[in-house]
C-alpha cells in the first residue's frame, strides 16, 4: 500500500512542480519527477527488464525535452 502511496506522491509532486513552474527548465524538472514515478511503477512489478525499459525511456525523453528547450532558447523563451 505504501508503494502505491509513494507512486501517487511522485506523480502529484511532479504535476505540482509543473503547475507552479515559472520557466521551462522548472517544467522539465517536474516532468522528471513524473518520470521517476514511472520508473518506480515499473519497479513495483519486480521485473528488471521492465525497469530497464522505463529508465531508458526516461533518459530518451529527457534528451528530447532538453533539445526542445535548446530550440526555444534561441527565440528567448527560456
Amino acid at each position: 500500500m505504501i508503494e502505491l502511496a509513494f507512486l501517487v506522491l511522485l506523480l502529484a509532486g511532479g504535476v505540482a512542480a509543473v503547475a507552479t513552474a515559472n520557466s521551462l527548465v522548472r517544467a522539465i524538472i517536474g516532468a522528471e519527477v513524473a518520470i521517476m514515478a514511472g520508473i518506480w511503477g515499473a519497479a513495483l512489478s519486480r521485473d528488471l527488464s521492465l525497469l530497464a525499459v522505463a529508465a531508458v525511456v526516461g533518459v530518451a525523453e529527457t534528451v528530447l525535452m532538453v533539445a526542445a528547450v535548446y530550440r526555444l532558447a534561441k527565440e528567448g523563451h527560456v
Binding site: 505504501i2 520557466s23 525497469l51 534528451v63 532558447a73
Partner: protein
Amino acid sequence: MVWAISAIALLLILAIIRTRDNVLAAVSLTFLGVTVAGAVWLLDPELSAAFILIALVYVVAALTLVIVAAASLSEGKRTVEMRPVALASLGALASAAASGRRAEGCGDLGGSPPRAALGGPAALLVRRGGSAVP
C-alpha cells in the same frame, strides 16, 4: 522502510517547488533520483542492478544541470554563484559512491549475513532512518 523514503521524497519535492533557483532545483532532483533508486533497491534486493538505474538518473540530472547552468548564464547579465551547487554535487557523488559500493558488495556475496558489514555510511543512514520512522 518505504515510509522514510517517502518522507525524504516529499521534502525534496517541496524543496524543488519552493526554491527560486533552477540550478538548486536540479540538484534537488538529483537527490530525489538517488532516493528513488535506493527505494527500488530496498523494495527488492534481487534488483541489485538498481545501481545502473542510479547511474542513468545521474546522467539525466547532469544533463539537466548543464542545460540549466547554460540557460542561467545566457539569461541575464548577473553573475552566477556556483559554489553551493558544486558542494551539493559533491555530496550527491559521495552518496552515489556509497550506494554503488553497497550494491556491489551485495552482488558478490549474494545475500550472506556479512552483507550488512559492507554497507557504507548511506546504508547506515537509511537503516537509522527506517528504525526511527516506523
